[in-house]
């Protein structure tokens, strides 16, 4: 028996946790071209929020949620991006416990970080690194 969890809490927890890890680098919930004037910043996007639906007419019979949030790191110096992504890997990959701080956080069973790829945007003159983080959230 698991009721649907609140994605507002997900968003607040991700914002808080990422900010703590990469501080003082700013963290944003979506990309905005104006941010590209900053030398380095981190953007996250949440996707794949889904608790599997089980059989029966009772709506609260669902499974656990395993949402993914993508972390995009933008830096003017390529090495800065690798440094930030290493901070995130060291802190988040395999992490189990309170996620998102005391106010808006919740317990997660596991965080699994997948380092996708790095790239460079010539138009914005910014190096980019993309990571996926899967959260296992018990209900």
């Amino acid at each position: 028996m698991a009721t649907q969890q609140n994605v507002v809490q997900y968003g607040k927890a991700i914002q808080y946790q990422l900010s703590q890890i990469v501080n003082p680098v700013p963290v944003y919930a979506a990309f905005n071209r104006n941010f590209a004037t900053q030398p380095k910043f981190v953007v996250w996007m949440l996707r794949n929020v889904h608790q599997p639906v089980y059989t029966g007419p009772v709506q609260s019979v669902k499974g656990i949620d395993r949402p993914i949030f993508q972390i995009s790191i933008f830096t003017q110096e390529i090495e800065d991006g690798f440094t930030i992504s290493n901070q995130i890997l060291q802190s988040l990959h395999g992490y189990s416990g309170l996620f998102g701080g005391a106010t808006n956080g919740f317990q997660i069973s596991k965080a699994d970080v997948l380092w996708l790829y790095n790239s460079y945007n010539n138009e914005e003159k910014m190096a980019q690194i993309f990571l996926d983080c899967t959260l296992d959230i018990p209900t």
Binding site: M1, A2, Y54, T55, G56, P57, V58, V61, G63, K110
Partner: protein, 164 residues
């Protein structure tokens, strides 16, 4: 209200178990009586099953071969109700899963189980008495922990009813 005259979707079946650790199972007559069955089919007795497996009756025949005869003979006999292997999400403190764990440990507790197939307000009930065996926890790291157990129905102790 008439029985639904349509093909029911697969997601609307639910499994309920009689409460308490030492239940008194329904009699064979009561298993076909909606007034006896429907009080068990309440949300407090719901088992958090992912999908209801096939339920009903097994095939059963007695085969005879007489020496010298050209063909054997298959004598249909009354078939036993189907054993059901249930996969549920494992919540260590779920009251009904703890009942299943206790039944499996005991091995001799007869309990009434009810499957409801629901279409809007129309409900078809399949009720049977059974014992629980093979209670297992599967904690694979890439997914949620599963609790698997098998309900073995007692012979001749099942019935169909509906709220029509």
């Amino acid at each position: 209200m008439a029985l639904p005259n349509k093909v029911l979707p697969g997601f609307s079946a639910a499994l309920y178990c009689q409460p308490t650790s030492s239940p008194t199972p329904l009699t064979t007559a009561q298993l076909s009586l909606v007034a006896s069955v429907s009080p068990i089919a309440v949300s407090g007795n719901l088992l958090p099953v992912e999908a209801i497996p096939a339920f009903g009756q097994d095939d059963a025949v007695a085969s005879f071969s007489v020496a010298g005869s050209r063909q054997s003979d298959k004598i249909p006999v009354q078939a036993a109700p189907t054993s059901m292997t249930i996969t549920a999400a494992w919540n260590p403190s779920d009251a009904n899963l703890l009942l299943m764990r206790g039944d499996a440990a005991s091995g001799v507790i007869d309990r009434t189980f009810v499957i409801s197939a629901t279409e809007g307000s129309n409900i078809v009930y399949y009720a049977f008495n059974g014992r629980v065996g093979q209670f297992q926890i599967d904690a694979a790291p890439g997914a949620e922990a599963k609790c698997t157990f098998t309900v073995h129905p007692r012979g001749n102790q099942y019935g169909w009813s509906n709220n029509a």
